[in-house]
């Protein structure tokens, strides 16, 4: 480490900026919420720079303006070092503090995630792209500070970057989303990261950082050849990376066509994504209870499969698909209801013409899943439907199974009529 970097590390604005950065990382990570998987942890790290990045860029703008505000640029011009060396050492010392604070926040996030995450790993390329984003924000802030060395520049830089990245965040799946220094997305099981997009994003942001640092040096000495060539290299790298991103579709994820499962139990066998092993036993208990309630009926089930939400594809013949987004016990009741709805085809009630049918279907779903279900609007009087529900609820378990066998078609199509029921 050069002497100038060591001096700047002690005397520059880095130490207090790092303390501020740590506080902002803490706030951002608290706002992110629960970290239940390594992908959640990675995404939380991506989100951690939302507050700190703009603030760090604001302080960098203050740092960049120092040489002109204090008129120390003449020392640089009289030095034997290039402007890039003196600018680079000042910028590097400041960035080391802030990136050090970010690395501490990353370490704490990963350590906190450790007990919850039993499958997979944090994505290094995604995290590198976040780190490159932070460095790019610092370099751009430093350059703007040197370009416009006024007292109002630092807050303006911070505010513009904060709202700018906010706007970018709302345009996920556009290719230019990846030009933003901030990237954070919810991970769903079975999704695969588009690592190439993160690599290009990291390259783009590194190029921006290099170009901004060199441009700050050029600001002091316009004829420095080494600064101009570094500026050119930075711009070249960022343009090539941006072109690579523009040529892609800008997606964070690809849904896996090859599904990886972890299966357990017999009658039923329950297959979940390996990331959900922490809730596997509780989930198995719930789904086994569902299988027991439907045993001997046309809805008897031997296998449950967790599948991607939305574009999940068709389950294995004879299996029932269910979706679960986060491996947390609190999500199991909803998952049980979802599996029951899939088993009974209760979604057909969404297009059912009769309110009474939906009420009966709701009662069946509640019994099979063992969970209360938010059903159709009860404010509309429906004495016929209420009577049917009361009658179903008064039946014993064996009688309910017999009733389900008799009315299997009506359950699947949500088309109960009074005569059918009786």
């Amino acid at each position: 480490m050069t002497s100038s970097v060591r001096i700047e590390l002690r005397r520059g604005p880095g130490p207090w900026a790092a303390a501020l950065a740590l506080a902002l990382f803490y706030v951002a990570l608290r706002r992110y919420g629960a970290v239940l998987t390594w992908m959640d942890a990675t995404s939380a790290i991506g989100a951690s720079t939302q507050l700190c990045g703009p603030a760090a860029a604001g302080v960098a703008a203050y740092c960049g303006a120092r040489a002109l505000r204090r008129r120390t640029a003449s020392h640089h011009r009289l030095g034997a070092r290039t402007e890039l060396a003196s600018t680079g050492s000042e910028l590097a010392a400041y960035a080391l503090w802030v990136v050090g604070a970010w690395l501490a926040a990353v370490a704490v996030t990963l350590l906190a995630a450790w007990p919850n995450c039993s499958w997979g790993h944090p994505d290094v390329v995604w995290m590198l792209a976040s780190g490159a984003g932070l460095i790019a924000e610092i370099a751009v802030g430093y350059f703007v500070g040197r370009l416009v060395p006024t007292l109002i520049t630092p807050p303006v830089v911070a505010i513009v970057l904060f709202f700018g990245t906010g706007v970018m965040l709302s345009h996920v799946n556009a290719w230019w989303y990846f030009l933003s220094p901030l990237n954070s997305q919810l991970w769903l099981p079975f999704d695969s990261l588009r690592t190439s997009n993160f690599a290009l994003q990291a390259a783009f942001l590194t190029g921006v950082a290099l170009a901004a640092g060199a441009a700050a040096a050029v600001r002091l000495a316009r004829t420095e050849r080494v600064s101009l060539s570094t500026l050119g290299v930075g711009l070249f790298v960022s343009v090539i990376a941006a072109a690579g991103l523009a040529g892609g579709d800008g997606h964070f994820w690809t849904i896996d066509t090859h599904i990886e499962w972890r299966c357990s139990g017999h009658s039923p066998t329950v297959c979940v994504h390996p990331a959900f092993v922490t809730v596997e036993a509780q989930l198995n208990q719930q789904l086994t209870a569902i299988a027991a309630r439907t045993a001997g009926t046309p809805f008897q089930v031997e296998r449950f499969e967790q599948r991607p939400r939305g574009l999940g594809g068709t389950p294995t013949p004879g299996a029932v698909a269910f979706a679960m987004d986060v491996p947390v016990a609190a999500a199991i009741p909803d998952t049980a209801v979802g599996a029951t709805v899939a088993l009974l085809n209760a979604d057909s009630c969404q297009s059912a013409p009769r309110l009474s049918s939906a009420r009966v279907e709701q009662a069946v779903v509640e019994w099979v899943s063992g969970q209360a279900v938010l059903g159709p609007d009860r404010s509309t009087p429906d004495p016929v439907g209420d009577a049917l529900v009361d009658e179903f609820n008064r039946l014993g378990d064996q009688a309910k199974r017999g009733w389900m066998t008799r009315h299997a078609d009506a359950i699947r199509s949500c088309s109960f009529v009074v005569t059918e029921h009786r």
Binding site: S3, R11, R71, T72, H75, H76, L78, G79, A80, R81
Partner: protein, 257 residues
């Protein structure tokens, strides 16, 4: 250390002019700087600071040529800075730095080899009598201390050409005497160029005197030659002041009359 033993003239100006927009600050200046102390005298606005800035490479001439003989011929402008030290009239700095930090930073800028930095900083502190203040933050220094620091940072790379712009400006008489002592000790083995308003400083220091007025050299010679210009009817209390007035072409009743 960067000191380079040169023979003959270290810097040569040949017909140099410098213009700030419409103002001609230096007009056809021809001059050679060699080992020893060269004092540049002149009233405010005479072009002294402009001349010093040209000597250290902070500005380039509008016309004329400037050649340096401070090191090997192949030196780039940046590399040449290793052999030059400059103390500006007003020293700018980061107030949060300590005296030692600041000198170390300048040593780094001047590419003083890492193994020599400690010694170079220590020597600069000793020569300028700042050792006791080594750890003090710059914001806590008085005006006189800052003047000494300006000289210390100009010395830290053991320059062959040392240029000091008004090193005694703003100092009280006691501090001026101290500064003179410092300059005397460092001026014997290198090219030391000083601009000053104080004619008295010349007697104690200068091997050679250059008087500038309105951008032109009106006198160039040693102190004895300057003194010889003193005549009755020129302005000033002492012989040197009257000689200086004569060099500037100012006439008027002497107060001693």
């Amino acid at each position: 250390m960067a000191q380079y033993q040169h023979e003959g003239d270290a810097v040569t100006l040949d017909g140099v002019s410098f213009r700030y927009a419409k103002l001609l600050a230096l007009d056809d200046v021809t001059l050679a700087i060699r080992t020893g102390v060269t004092a540049i005298l002149g009233p405010n606005g005479a072009g002294k600071s402009t001349l010093l800035h040209l000597l250290v490479g902070l500005t380039t001439p509008t016309s004329g040529s400037l050649s340096f003989s401070l090191g090997p011929d192949s030196l780039t402008r940046r590399d040449r800075n290793r052999f030059i030290g400059f103390a500006p009239q007003t020293l700018d700095y980061y107030p949060n730095y300590s005296v030692t930090d600041f000198l170390r930073y300048i040593a780094w800028l001047k590419k003083v080899p890492a193994r020599s930095v400690d010694e170079a900083v220590e020597q600069s502190l000793i020569r300028t009598d700042l050792t006791q203040l080594a750890g003090r933050k710059l914001r806590a220094l008085s005006g006189g201390m800052v003047r000494r620091l300006a000289v210390a940072q100009a010395l830290v790379n053991e320059p062959s050409l040392l240029v000091l712009d008004e090193p005694a400006a703003g100092l009280d008489p006691e501090q001026r005497i101290e500064m003179r002592g410092i300059l005397r000790s460092i001026g014997s083995q290198r090219c030391l160029v000083i601009s000053t308003h104080h004619v008295d400083d010349l007697v104690a220091l200068a091997d050679r005197v250059i008087v500038l007025n309105e951008g032109r050299i009106t006198f160039s010679g040693d102190v004895a030659q300057l003194s010889a210009l003193a005549t009755r009817g020129t302005f000033g209390d002492t012989e040197l002041e009257r000689a200086y007035s004569a060099a500037l072409g100012i006439s008027g009743p002497s107060r001693s009359d």
